[in-house]
Symmetry: C2
Subunit: 305 residues, 2 copies
């Protein structure tokens, strides 16, 4: 017999929907995922997508608390959950938006994103991973790097997000490798040395970026550069450019990288090449820790306000 | 009654096929275009695509000379026409590859591209525009800028192409504006001041490129940046990055820009903002002049060798 949920944590991004179902005593009774991110849904489809995963765990006659973070709260998401403005602590349940649902078994709360006025910037989803990091490391003072489609560099001090900067690295890599002439020359990145060469080129010669990109094509035509090495160099160039554009965030700072295994390994290698010794944490685990922290404070306060 | 061709000039790039048909006395009797570039064709389809335009002008029992340049000679084109290596004069008919055709009315010659060993680089099509420029201005000594999908910066001295550099600006703009989150924020560029701001940012702060790109998204979300201004800034950023990566080509040099009206106007504005007074020439006209020069030398020599 399927167990009944006590509460449900949801990390809902552009490409993925990740759900953790908790029973009494905060026991994790299910971890479910679907490729139903914001990019694959229109507004009316969110509730059905969520119910498709969690319906078996909902009890009739009870509104089960669901706490969600990520692009689900964007203007194009289920419902807009607004932004908190930095500097501020990571937003908790008291800043969440309660969203009306058709199914009475849902008591849905979406956490807000963060915005920055000067220079203008936004994040959505990463603030909950940051909440997780600070929940586990309350005294952390330094820089968090959250690589991904839109990588975030975040300055943390005294429990607050002081400032942050978004870099389009992941999305640039995807667009360039699939939608330019480089699609004929890049494959699966498989060359660590070529990656690190790219990082140094991107970091030391950012002005040459769009020259060095075409050079990958020329080298593959004229010198037989392999698709794996070309992909590794392209990835390195873009991460090197990112490091050039975020130097103030990492130079001489304590840096922790938060994300999936593949990306954090790349960023750690790139930063070690600059003499840093970054710590690494899993992004999915930190999102869950952040959602748990929001749930705990809701329970402590007798429910979301 | 349709006139019969004496010879035919073909500029065949990635996206376009442009044909000029000449009668006796080098009179232009037709100018035809089709959106049948290399990107839309596979190897066996080139001859039919060309005949679809020029068949009415071919005489039976005669092989009409066709001189072509551009991606039609690429590895993925009709037939690979190889490369000449710089430094060298623009390649003429003596370097062309004769391509066998099914239809005996065609006597097809494809001009080669140019390659550079250090650093590795290639061009295909622009060399014929350069031939046109040098045919009209034999004493030109300076830099040619040929903006486009893959912009080329070319150092010319003593009638030779000394060196060149390719920058992926046009293709980056297309990929980024269509295949990243910026697709929600950019429209038709319509703001000259925003364009020039972008140029200065890209030129002075190339390391911030992938930060400034996301900032367009943040400004459109938080401050209502218009799609026209966002597009102009993005275009300016990428052209500014190009100028940063080609400074040795234009700083203190005589520069002529060769291309279509819209792009040459943008590049001229960007270079004027750096204190230059660039000349401008039409790319299609220069390609035709280059193809005519190849034809003339073929006639002078009694035919291609």
């Amino acid at each position: 017999m399927t167990k009944t949920a006590d509460w449900i944590a949801v990390d809902w991004g552009t490409t993925h929907l990740r759900v953790w179902v908790f029973g009494p005593g905060d026991e994790e009774i299910a971890h479910l995922t679907a490729e139903k991110g914001m990019g694959a849904l229109v507004r009316g489809e969110y509730e059905a997508a969520l119910l498709g995963l969690i319906a078996p765990y909902l009890a009739d006659g009870v509104a089960t608390q669901v706490i969600a973070c990520g692009m689900v709260g964007a203007r194009q998401g289920w419902a807009e959950a607004g932004y908190q403005t930095v500097p501020c602590p990571p937003p908790g349940i008291e800043a969440a938006t309660r969203v009306a649902t058709s199914d009475p078994r849902l008591d849905l709360w979406i956490l807000p994103g963060l915005s920055q006025d000067h220079p203008p910037d936004v994040m959505r989803g990463e603030e909950t991973q940051i909440a997780g990091v600070l929940s586990e490391n309350p005294g952390f003072d330094g820089t968090l790097c959250l690589p991904g489609t839109h990588a975030k560099w975040v300055q943390i001090s005294a429990g607050e997000i002081v400032s942050f900067r978004t870099v389009m690295t992941g999305e640039l890599y995807a667009a360039i490798s699939a939608h330019t002439v480089l699609r004929h020359s890049v494959g699966e990145a498989d060359d660590e040395a070529a990656f690190l060469d790219g990082v140094q080129d991107g970091l030391m010669s950012p002005e040459a970026l769009s020259v060095l990109m075409f050079r990958l094509r020329a080298e593959s035509l004229l010198e037989g550069l392999s698709p794996g090495a070309a992909a590794a160099r392209l990835s390195g160039l873009l991460i090197g450019l990112e490091l050039a554009g975020t130097r103030g965030y990492w130079l001489g700072a304590e840096v922790a990288i938060v994300g999936g295994a593949t990306l954090t390994a790349k960023y750690a290698a790139a930063l070690r090449a600059q003499g840093l010794v970054p710590r690494v944490a899993d992004g999915g685990a930190m999102a869950l820790t952040g959602l748990r922290a929001a749930h705990s404070s809701a329970v402590d306060d007798g429910g979301p306000k």
